[in-house]
């Protein structure tokens, strides 16, 4: 699946998107975060605290414990600050 990172998550991870296939059993955004954390120091730093992390599954805001399903795209980002 395509994973996108925005704002300081993008900066800490060092890329804005990538294609990744998480292992079986990763069934929520929160589980995906736990797995990503093991993928390198940038990820560990970006996801060290889940509290300010928000996500969208196929471009819809979802809670971190939403069922992940088989999305085409998942985005991780801090709380929005537009307007």
């Amino acid at each position: 699946m395509r994973i996108l990172y925005f704002a300081w998550l993008r900066e800490r991870i060092g890329k804005s998107s990538e294609e990744l296939e998480p292992p079986p059993g990763v069934d929520t955004p929160r589980a995906l975060i736990a797995w990503l954390r093991t993928q390198g120091p940038g990820y560990a730093k970006a996801f060290s605290d889940e509290k300010p992390v928000r996500c969208a599954i196929d471009q819809e805001f979802q809670p971190l414990d939403a069922p992940l399903g088989r999305p085409k795209e998942i985005g991780f980002f801090p709380p929005v600050t537009g307007g």
């Binding site: 996108l4 925005f6 704002a7 300081w8 993008r10 969208a56 471009q59 819809e60 805001f61 985005g75 980002f77 801090p78 709380p79 929005v80 600050t81 537009g82 307007g83």
Partner: protein, 157 residues
Amino acid sequence: MRLVAVQEQDFDAGALLGRLSGAGTGGLASFIGIVRQAPDGGLKALCLEHYPGMTEKALERLADEAEARWALTGCIIIHRVGRLEPGQNIVFTAAASAHRGNALAATAYLIDQLKTRAPFWKAEEMQDGTTSWVDAREADDTTAAAWNTPASPENLP
């Protein structure tokens, strides 16, 4: 008339308002958000990032909601991205309706909801060379959520 856009270039508020001034429109309200200089003059620019694709969908949904709730004859949401200096426009929301109360309420709704429900992120570039991401404001969540309470603002002047 419906116009939703995410763009780097500035917008022409006068021309946009002109497009909303159609048959059946009695009131036309608008809001422009502007990059505000910090009280100490330390802000050099805001850098605005967004989630392409998702942003447009989120803004279209807000327009749908506003049109359904206030019987609008038209509405516009434009949000700029990229690097914006103090005094420059960031965002434009506008709503037209037969009656003034609807136009005013819908305009406020669009900007209040946009602040919490559209995927934009601001970083502040300071005169001293530092850059930092702007934190979300809890007050924005409270303001946006208040539109869903029984005493929501459209029942008021």
